[in-house]
Every structure is written in structure tokens, then in C-alpha cells.
């Protein structure tokens, strides 16, 4: 007889202490290894490997996320993603051919229409992909699921995005709140219905200073440029006889200066404010999530998100320095070799090598971004959670079925990828 008696009373005591606590237990090194080998394979398979890499990443993130002592499980497989992609391909390919033929027809109406159809499809895919991911998320032997019409969601989403553009971004908080309401109203954990309680006004108040720092200077700069252009001169100069008249009232330096200052300000403020924006948005979003009586609150600190981005910046700088040196040396060596060879062949070799180098560098930055920002933000958010009434999570009954991966495939084919 052999007995493995590992579970002792002390372990059970920690179990109850963990109620309401969320933890991320994954090691960063595992994730780095996963991403870097995945990146190399993506390069050599021209992206076919992405179904496996995506699945690996999700498995890692899900199963290392612990809530009240139990970890999540991602039960999706790479084969499902591949299948979804193939279905999407079958559906989209004829559509692309139709769009191509339509662009040959006179007028811009048709190409505009096809763009609109693609935007709708993108939002449709986002909703269906969320459904797939939720039904592959298992916690304590019970899965999440999502109901609701993806078509209705895509219509709402497109209308809201149109409103966001028309309102210069001021509608964004309300769009986020309404769309999240829609998603969470149709989200269930087992038989426990979800809902969203974040208010658009609240997000607007938090985000208004950021909006004032970016959109307002942009608007002022644009108006200044418009005023600086002498429109009457411009309209006469379009007649062929008079085309030497200056079109700028303030001289050529005036407009360039306004554009440069506005651009520099936007760039600097974007780099500095984006982490703040992300922190505010995530804290607001997480704190609005509800499942039955279970409420979530996030105490995500902006400084931590800044830390994550600083890490990204550090690694990216290091990578840039190394790659810059390598490319410099490589280009020098290549010019030595290719200089002597028949140049058509040399040109092809150079183009192939630079294509490969481009893809490798892009994948390098992608890997660094995933391993620092994606993982870092995920970890920060999980560790900032406070869950109340988590006892409810022990009495949830199973419900819902596994959904098809078509949404994932569509999202992939339309370049609308999520996690």
C-alpha cells in the first residue's frame, strides 16, 4: 500500500485565506522562452505557426491566473483556430474577389461600400471571437459562455465608432460603457449572469484631462494651419495661368512651424499619456465587472503601468542597439560579397535577406512587447483585483456549450486579433 498524503490541514487553511484574492503565478522566463521560440517558428512558417503560438500564450496566461486559490483553464486548441481560419478563408475569399471587381467599376461608392462591409465584419468577428474564448475558459470545472447577436453588436459598435469620430473622441467613454454593457449582459459564468456597471460619465471625467492634452492641441494646430493658408490665393492658383502666387499668408515657415510643434507635442504627449490612459481605462473597466453578486474592484496604480512600459522601452532600446550593429555589419559584408557577383542575382539575394531581416526585427519587437507590456499589464491587473462575495463562486452550476471558432478565424483573417 502506498499513500500520498500531501493535503494537510494547513493547506486547507490557506485555501480559505485565499478567498477573494487573485494572483498570477506564472514565471516570466517561461513566457519569454515560449515567445522567442514561437517568433522564430512564425518566421520560418510565414505565420502558419500562429495558431499554435496563440494557443500556447493563452494556455500560459489562463492557467497561471489564480482566483481564490484555483487557476483558470484554457481548453481551446490550435486545431480549432486553424479550422476557424479555414472557414473564414472560405467565406472571405469570394468576398474579396467581389470587392476587387467592384473597385474596377466607376465611382468611389463601391469601394466605400466594401470598406464599410469589412468594418462591420471586423466587429462581428470581434464579438464571435470573444464567444469562442469565453466558452474555452474554464474555472472550477465550469465554463463561461456568451449569448447575444453578433450582428446587432457589430451594428452598435460601428455606429458608436462613427459617433466617436464625429465627437472628436468625446463619445469614447460612453461607447466603451455601452458596448461593454452589451457584452457583459450576454456573458455568463455557468448559470451566473454577468453585467457591467461602469459609467461613461465616470470614465469621461477621468479621461478629460488626457483628451485636453492631446485632442485640443491637435484641433488648435489644425485650425491654425487652415487660417495660415491663404485660401483665396489657393483657389486662383488652381487656374493654370496664375500658379506662382504664394499660397501662404504667414510665409512658408509659418505653417511648417505649426505642423512641427503640433506633431512634436502629440508624439511626446502620446508616449507619456498612453500608459496613464491604459491604466485609467483598465481600472474603470475591471471595476465595472459583475457576476451575480460577485463584484470586482481594481486598485491598479498608474506607476505600475509606467514601470511595465519602461521595461519595454529598456529591452527595445537594447534590441535596437544589437540589431543596428548586426544589420550594419551584415550590410557591409553583403556589399563586399554582392559587389563582385552578377548584380541581378546579388539584388535578389539582398532583397531576400533584407525581407528576412525586416520580418525578424518586427518579430523581435513583437516578442519584447508581448513579454513586457502584454504580460506586465495582465499581471498588474490580476494583482490589483479585489473580489467581494467570492463565496458565490463556489455554488455556480454549469451551463452553456462550446462555441465554434469561426469568429476567431474571421478576426484573424481580417487582422482584428485579440489576445
Amino acid at each position: 500500500m502506498t499513500t500520498f498524503d500531501a493535503a494537510d490541514p494547513a493547506a486547507q487553511a490557506t485555501q480559505s485565506a485565499l478567498a477573494g484574492v487573485a494572483r498570477f503565478v506564472g514565471r516570466g522566463k517561461t513566457f519569454w522562452r515560449l515567445l522567442s521560440s514561437g517568433g522564430v517558428l512564425l518566421l520560418f512558417t510565414l505565420g502558419i505557426y500562429r495558431f499554435w503560438l496563440t494557443t500556447d500564450i493563452r494556455r500560459y496566461l489562463w492557467s497561471n491566473t489564480e482566483l481564490a486559490g484555483d487557476s483558470f483553464e484554457y481548453s481551446g486548441t490550435a486545431y480549432e483556430l486553424l479550422l476557424g481560419f479555414l472557414i473564414a478563408l472560405a467565406a472571405l475569399l469570394p468576398l474579396y474577389v467581389v470587392f476587387f471587381l467592384l473597385t474596377l467599376a466607376p465611382g468611389n461608392t463601391w469601394s466605400l461600400l466594401s470598406l464599410l462591409v469589412l468594418i462591420f465584419l471586423g466587429q462581428y468577428a470581434v464579438y464571435r471571437a470573444r464567444r469562442y474564448r469565453l466558452t474555452r475558459t474554464i474555472y472550477r470545472g465550469v465554463r463561461f459562455h456568451q449569448t447575444g447577436s453578433a450582428l446587432l453588436y457589430s451594428v452598435c459598435a460601428v455606429l458608436w465608432w462613427a459617433l466617436i469620430i464625429l465627437s472628436a473622441g468625446l463619445a469614447y467613454p460612453f461607447a466603451q460603457s455601452q458596448l461593454e454593457h452589451f457584452k457583459m449582459r450576454h456573458t455568463f459564468f455557468g448559470n451566473l449572469p454577468g453585467r457591467f456597471e461602469g459609467s461613461g460619465w465616470h470614465l469621461l471625467l477621468r479621461g478629460l484631462p488626457l483628451w485636453a492634452c492631446t485632442v485640443v492641441p491637435f484641433a488648435i494646430g489644425t485650425v491654425a494651419v487652415i487660417l495660415a493658408i491663404d485660401w483665396s490665393a489657393l483657389s486662383t492658383s488652381s487656374e493654370p495661368a496664375v500658379h506662382t502666387v504664394g499660397i501662404e499668408r504667414g510665409g512658408p515657415a509659418g505653417i511648417d512651424l505649426i505642423v512641427a510643434v503640433t506633431g512634436a507635442w502629440l508624439l511626446a504627449s502620446f508616449a507619456l499619456l498612453y500608459p496613464i490612459f491604459q491604466a485609467i481605462l483598465l481600472r474603470w473597466w475591471v471595476s465595472g465587472l459583475r457576476f451575480g453578486n460577485v463584484a470586482v474592484k481594481s486598485r491598479l496604480r498608474i506607476a505600475r503601468v509606467f514601470g511595465v512600459y519602461a521595461q519595454f522601452f529598456g529591452y527595445a532600446t537594447l534590441f535596437t542597439a544589437v540589431v543596428g550593429t548586426l544589420v550594419g555589419v551584415g550590410a557591409f559584408g553583403l556589399s563586399k560579397i554582392a559587389g563582385g557577383v552578377s548584380s541581378m542575382r546579388g539584388e535578389i539575394v539582398t532583397t531576400v535577406l533584407s525581407l528576412g531581416a525586416y520580418a525578424a526585427i518586427a518579430l523581435g519587437y513583437w516578442t519584447i512587447y508581448q513579454a513586457t507590456v502584454k504580460l506586465g499589464v495582465w499581471r498588474c491587473v490580476i494583482e490589483s483585483l479585489e473580489i467581494s462575495n467570492s463565496a458565490v463562486l463556489e455554488q455556480v452550476a454549469a451551463a452553456g456549450e462550446a462555441a465554434s471558432p469561426v469568429g476567431e478565424g474571421l478576426a484573424d483573417a481580417l487582422n482584428m486579433g485579440g489576445i
Binding site: 500520498f4 493535503a7 512558417t45 510565414l46 489564480e66 487557476s71 472550477r140 470545472g141 525581407l355 454549469a398
Partner: protein, 378 residues
């Protein structure tokens, strides 16, 4: 608390069980019976009995072995934290993959075959696509080619007009003082067109671009750059280049390039997905593929030009002369140096093909002078 009803001759140990019906967490004793894994509740009740060959490893944190039952609609889960107990189960059950060895073997197969598929795709793109496009391009009706050409023409004109700050229109020959030049240019084109007898009308224009270049789009659009007119020392040189472009129209090279580009874009664009800036790679790949077969295409157009020039009584060798002078840089894409072997080969080939048939001037002195001044600046 009753002791679980465990046959003590079997290996057993503690685990956590979720029955898949509710989220209730059961502290259980599992028993490794000869053919099955038995799960006993704390009250001694048997909660589940799973055959070893139906066990399945599910994704879990590193220090937990999470088991489920294969093909079971109910998501019952068994979580084992004790490494020795986990090892004991792994030993009993073939499908349990505690160390990930089975998964790794499967993954190696996936990697091998996706690399093989990629290599095969690249081969098709490099070798197969040009062949397919060559076969299909002659089958495209001219009506379709003209529509395609009109769409591409609109985009190309915008591209050509970029950086044109003088305010003058893109096309030369529209102003009053440029009329004479335009008449001469049209005379030259008409001679070529009559002799060529192409199934679609040619729309040739001289545009205000300083480069010594000429481009041909599908649907018979030919753009001759101002820089080329400046470089030409006699009408036959300009006519030679234009006759070469006529060759591209006759061989439907524009349509073929477009078809090839579309095929490659379709093949790789969707495959690449959103991990890399896929679009940039596709564009670069298209450029690469275009340059890699352009040699034969150019030679064919040269041959056409020699025949056409002979037909209208021009000097076919003039094409060779201007080519060797401007370095063959008549086409967009990577710049090719003047002493390039390809250009030398082309020049030699043209010289060899050219016969010494009777000649006549294509334009008189006055017409040629007017044509040279077609892009008259203020």
C-alpha cells in the same frame, strides 16, 4: 467523518475534484485501481471512476497535474499537486502527458509540416505564379484589361503628380505653346500604332517628371517622362523606347504583373496574419518577384521594338544607343547600374537582331525640335 471506502492494496492519495456540474470544490481521495482511477469523496462516496485510457491532461500551472475525461461533455476536473502521485498516475495511463512529451512530439510534426508547406508555397510563388500568369494573361478580355488599366491609371497619376510643385499640369502638351510638340509626338505615336496594329488604343502621354524613364500600365497607358525626351538625341531613340513599351502592351506584361502580384498578395497576405506588418512584406515580395523575372520580359519587349522600328522605317539600333546611355533605367524598381551585364546583353541582342532595312526619317527637324520642347517651362 467516515473513512473513504478505499481498497488499501491500491496506491492512493489526496486530490481536488470538480464534478463539472457545479463549482463546488471537493477534497477527495483518489485510488489507482488496476484499470481505472477512482475518486472518493470525504464521506466515502464514490464520485467518479475514470478508465486510464480516457484520461486527458488539461492545461494547468506548472506544479499541478490537471486531468479531465476525454470526449466528456461534462467538464469534470481532477487536480493533483503531489508530484509522486502525479507520477504514479502518469505511469498507469498512456494518454496522460505530465511531462509534455507527447505534446512536444506532436508539435515537432506540426513544425516540420508547416515548414514544408511554407517552402512549397514559396516555390509556387517564385516559379508557379509567373507561369500561371503567363498562361492566363492572354485569356483576359481586352475590355477587362482596359477597366483594370483605368483603375490603376487613376492611382498612378496621383503617384506621378506627387512632388510636382511647379503648379503646371502633369501632362505636357496642354498649353498653347506646347501644341506643336504635341502634334509631333502624336505623329510619332500614330506611325508606331498603325504599324503595330494592337487590339486596343494606345494612350501615350509625356509627363513632367525629371527621370529618364517610361512606364506602361495595363490597358495601353504609356507614360513617357520628360527626362527621357531630354535624353533622346534623335526621334528614333525616343521611338525605340516607346516601341519597347508597345511590346509590353502587346505581350500584356502589365496585366501579367498585376495578376502575379494579386496572386502572391492573396497567397501570403492572408497566411501572414497580424503578427508582422504583413502588408509591407507582401509589397516587398511583389517587387522582388517582379524584378526576378523582368529580364526575359524586357528581352521580349526589345525584340518587339526592333521588329516594329524596322516596320516603320526607323533605326532599331537607336534603342540600343539610348539604353546604353541612360543605363537601362527605364523601369521602376531597383536601380540598375549602367555597366550592368544585363544592359550589355540587351544592347548586344538588339544589335544582333537589327537588320539594315531602308530608313526614312520619322520626324523632320522642325517637328523634332518642337517635340523636344513639349514641356516648355515659363
Amino acid at each position: 467523518m467516515n473513512a473513504p471506502n478505499v481498497d488499501s492494496s491500491n496506491v492512493h492519495g489526496r486530490a481536488i475534484f470538480f464534478d463539472g456540474l457545479t463549482t463546488a470544490r471537493h477534497d477527495v481521495v483518489i485510488e489507482l485501481a488496476p484499470r481505472t482511477l477512482r475518486v472518493h469523496g470525504a464521506d466515502g462516496r464514490a464520485l467518479a471512476e475514470w478508465p486510464y485510457d480516457e484520461l486527458e491532461t488539461r492545461s494547468s500551472p506548472d506544479d499541478v497535474l490537471r486531468l479531465g475525461r476525454a470526449r466528456d461533455a461534462v467538464l469534470a476536473r481532477l487536480e493533483i499537486t503531489d508530484p509522486q502521485l502525479a507520477a504514479a498516475i502518469d505511469e498507469q495511463s498512456a494518454p496522460v502527458d505530465r511531462t509534455g512529451r507527447i505534446e512536444r512530439r506532436l508539435r515537432r510534426k506540426v513544425i516540420f509540416w508547416s515548414c514544408a508547406a511554407t517552402a512549397s508555397l514559396i516555390l509556387v510563388a517564385v516559379v508557379g505564379m509567373p507561369l500561371i500568369a503567363t498562361e492566363l494573361a492572354p485569356l483576359v478580355p481586352y475590355a477587362v484589361e482596359r477597366k483594370l488599366g483605368a483603375a490603376i491609371d487613376a492611382q498612378t497619376r496621383v503617384g506621378l503628380d506627387e512632388g510636382n510643385r511647379s503648379g503646371a499640369p502633369l501632362d505636357c502638351g496642354s498649353a498653347e505653346k506646347e501644341q506643336a510638340g504635341r502634334v509631333a509626338f502624336e505623329k510619332l505615336i500614330r506611325q508606331l500604332e498603325t504599324a503595330a496594329g494592337l487590339p486596343l488604343p494606345i494612350k501615350a502621354t509625356i509627363v513632367r517628371k525629371p527621370e529618364a524613364n517610361a512606364i506602361t500600365l495595363p490597358g495601353g497607358h504609356i507614360y513617357v517622362f520628360q527626362g527621357l525626351v531630354g535624353e533622346a538625341r534623335m526621334p528614333d531613340e525616343l521611338a525605340g523606347i516607346i516601341a519597347h513599351e508597345f511590346g509590353h502592351v502587346a505581350h500584356r506584361d502589365g496585366t501579367r504583373t498585376i495578376m502575379q502580384g494579386a496572386g502572391v498578395a492573396l497567397m501570403f497576405g492572408m497566411l501572414l496574419g497580424d503578427f508582422v506588418g504583413g502588408g509591407a512584406v507582401v509589397v516587398a515580395a511583389k517587387t522582388l518577384l517582379r524584378t526576378s523575372y523582368s529580364r526575359d520580359v524586357e528581352a521580349a519587349a526589345d525584340g518587339y521594338a526592333v521588329v516594329l522600328m524596322t516596320k516603320i522605317g526607323g533605326d532599331p539600333r537607336a534603342l540600343a544607343a539610348i539604353l546604353s546611355r541612360i543605363g537601362g533605367n527605364t523601369h521602376a524598381g531597383p536601380k540598375i547600374l549602367a555597366d550592368h551585364p544585363e544592359i550589355r546583353d540587351r544592347v548586344i541582342a538588339i544589335e544582333a537582331m537589327a537588320s539594315s532595312a531602308p530608313r526614312r526619317p520619322l520626324l523632320d527637324q522642325r517637328e523634332w525640335a518642337a517635340l523636344k520642347a513639349i514641356c516648355a517651362e515659363e
